[in-house]
Each structure stands twice: as C-alpha cells, then as structure tokens.
Amino acid sequence: MRILALATTTLLTLLASTAVHAHAFLDHAEPRVGSTVPAAPREVALFFNEKLEPAFSSVEVSDASGARVDLGKTRVETTTMRIGLKHLSPGTYRVRWHVLSVDTHTTEGSFTFQVGP
C-alpha cells in the first residue's frame, strides 16, 4: 500500500506540474452568470481557462423573444471572448457560446443575465 500511495502521489505531482491543454471551460463572465445588473452592459465578456481558436469560437446574445441583441462580431483574444451589445432594456437575456480550444476540443454552453432594478 505504501508503494501505491507513493506512485499515486508521484502521478498527481507530475499532473500538477504538466501543462495540460484541455477542454475550454467558462471560468467566469461579465455580466456574471445568472446575475442581475442595474444598468445595461455595453458588451458581454467570457473568460475561459484555455486559449481559444478565434475563427471557430463565437457567442451570441438574445432577448426573451429570441431576437439577437448583440452587434454580431465576436472578438477573441487568447482566453477571452467578447461581443458588443445594442442598448438593452430591462429584461432577461440569454448568452449562447461555442468555442474551440487550441487542442481542437469543442465546448459549448449558455446562461442568462437580467437587466433591471
């Protein structure tokens, strides 16, 4: 059992010290996932834990009726993806994203935020 514990510890140490390029997970967003913001944001920014491939990563924002409220051009810089927004009136908005990390793994997701008092 001591040998097993030693081997496992060594493996974990190696893993911790090795730069693994993995699936890109959403680390956090602005506006924050599920939050309510008092003033209409000018853009949505998504921060990932891995570098993204700009040509194949995108985000869109829609209102409660499904109409697009973003300005259409996704900007990607290393681990961050941004998109500008039209003026948002109070309500609930859904952000849908799809990214390709530099190791070719795709991930996707969606969340909502609210604008309003």
Binding site: M1, L4, A7, T8, L11, L12, L15, T18, V20, H21, A22, H23, F25, L26, H28, A29, R32, V33, G34, S35, N49, K51, E53, P54, A55, F56, T92, L100, V102, D103, T104, H105, T106, T107, E108, G109, S110, F111, T112
Partner: protein, 320 residues
C-alpha cells in the same frame, strides 16, 4: 493561395471533421460534462485511464474479512463511436484469524459503442459487452474463476439542463445508469459444488455539478476549489436471476455517497461504500480513484480515435 486562406481551409476541415462526429472524447454532451464515476461506468466511449482505483471494505462473511481491491483500467477509442477498455484488478483478503489471500482477478475487457448523444437534451446512450476472461487471474487462490463472464450492458446518462430556467439550481443535476445481464460460460462450479447464477448487474448515479451551476445557471462567487466539485451518490447492485438452484436470490451491493473533483486533465474521486445488507459487507468501506483524461493530456496522439480522427491539433498561432 495565401497563408491566410490555407490556414482557414485546414482548420475548417478539421472543425468539420470534429463537428460532424461530435469529437468530445471524455463524456461531454452539449454543455454537460458527466465525470467518470467510481462504482459504475459513464455512458461515453473515451480515451481515458483510471489508475489506481482503490477500495477498502469488510466482507459479508461471518466473521468478516478485510478486503483491499486495487485496479487499473485504460480505455481507447477505435473509431469515433466505438471503444475498447482493458482492466485488471488485484485483491487482498485478510481473514479474522490472520489468514491472508492475495492475487489477481480475471482480466476484463469492455467493447462499447456510442449509440446516441443528444446535445440539446444532454442525453448519452451507450451499449457494451463486458467480458471477464476465465483463467486469467489467480484461480488457485480462489480470487479468480476458471470460467468467463459475459455481460451485455446498456448505459445511459441524462443532464437536467434542458429544463426551463424556472427550475434554476435543479438544472445542475444529472443521472447516469447501467444495466447488464451477466452470463457465466459454465453453469456449475465443480470445485465449490454450486451452481453459477446468471445475474443482473446494475447501478445508477445521481450527481450535482458545481461546474455546471457556475457556468450555466448562477455564478455564486465561491472559492475555485468548490466550483470543481461534483457531489454524487452511486448505487451498484447485483441480483441472481437464473441458474441459482439452492441459493437465495439475494440482491447485494453498496450505496456510495461521495464527491469527484474535476481538474484539467484529471479527476479525483472519493466515496464511502455502504453495504445494502449483511450479505454485501460489514460496516462502511472506502473507494478512491485517480482518473486521467488522456484525450486532454495527449490530444493529437492517444486522444484521437485510431480510425477517423482528426490526427492533428489546430495550429497554436493563427496568422491571418
């Protein structure tokens, strides 16, 4: 042709291959990630390795023996939807009188086919054939049989992220399950003079994904460690259903509450094993596992299926 266009076309081809085949090596279904569970299998083919899985428990014998189980398993996709796993376990049994029995269990292989992945409904369905090969372990010690076990198995996983937003935090739940019918290649064990039953081997997990909660529902601003946790409860059961003459048709198994911490390239899991009855064990055992996502660690080599993979990684720096 400009470098810009060449790069774009190359990457477009790569992405087309990826997107048409849903190349998500470990178990992603849409926005849902289903971790590799410890007591039952997850519902996806994958390039991954569990090493080691370590269990400690007290057997259901009277008086009970102390049992250690150490096992390793490695899985490889042959095509995008077909994968093979091989595994080997080692067991140590110390009886109450101090008698020690140690040895390898029979060698196990699994052949699995991904029937479906529905991204929108976070649904994964897998069919498999598990074979424990007789006479490949320590038959002399009694820890391995001299007959094989063939178990056609059906696996399913479902996340609840497709529920309406009004379900809020509930959407972070997911369930997985499996059911298999285990058929021994012999019907009678002449060494122990007992019938060898055909058994239903089944189990399920209920999991709550903190990563899903944070990225899809609400970011509570918790410390990062908690955002990697997937608390879960697993149930793993076996019920004799045929060829069990003279023996009780008692269901045995454990209920395993625990937690998995999901990292970049690996996960670590720890569960308690609570026997469902006296025949299943005595007292609470422990099960731990280190699991490696080999597709993340070696994305351009081991992380590709042998046939039909993209065979390369995307360029690290695009020059447009």
């Amino acid at each position: 042709m400009s470098r810009h266009l060449l790069h774009t076309l190359a990457l477009a081809g790569l992405v087309a291959a990826v997107s048409t085949t849903e190349s998500l090596a470990h178990c992603f279904v849409g926005a849902r990630f289903l971790p590799s569970t410890l007591a039952i299998d997850d519902p996806c083919v994958a390039d991954e390795m569990s090493m080691p899985t370590v269990g400690w428990s007290k057997t259901g014998d009277i008086p009970s023996a102390t049992q250690w189980d150490v096992s390793a398993e490695i899985s490889k996709r042959i095509t995008e939807n077909f994968g093979v796993s091989v595994g080997q376990g080692w067991t140590s049994l110390r009886q109450a009188d101090g008698t020690l029995t140690q040895g390898f269990e029979n060698f196990e292989t699994s052949f699995q086919y991904q029937i479906a992945k529905d991204r929108e409904h976070e649904l994964a369905i897998l069919a498999g054939l598990v074979v424990d090969w007789g006479r490949t372990g320590s038959t002399g010690s009694g820890l391995a049989s001299d007959y094989s076990l063939v178990t056609p198995t059906f696996y399913v996983g479902k996340g609840f992220g497709d529920l309406p937003d009004s379900f809020s935090w509930f959407r972070a739940f997911a369930v997985t399950g499996q059911v298999g019918y285990q058929i021994p290649t012999s019907s009678f064990d002449f060494t122990q003079n007992v019938f060898i039953p055909q058994q239903l081997v089944y189990g399920a997990s209920l999991q709550y994904s903190m990563p899903y909660l944070k990225s899809q529902i609400v970011d509570l601003g918790l410390p990062d460690f908690f955002n990697h946790l997937i608390p879960l409860i697993e149930v793993s059961l076996t019920t004799p259903v045929a060829n069990n003459f003279g023996n009780p048709y008692t269901t045995t198994g454990t209920v395993n509450p625990g937690v998995i911490w999901v990292g970049s390239g690996f996960q670590v899991g720890l569960e308690a094993m609570i026997p469902i009855n006296r025949e299943s064990g005595s007292g609470v055992g422990v099960l731990g596992q280190l699991h490696l996502y080999l597709d993340d660690m070696f994305p351009s080599t081991y992380g590709q299926p042998l046939f039909g993979g993209t065979g390369t990684t995307a360029p690290r720096k695009m020059t447009f």
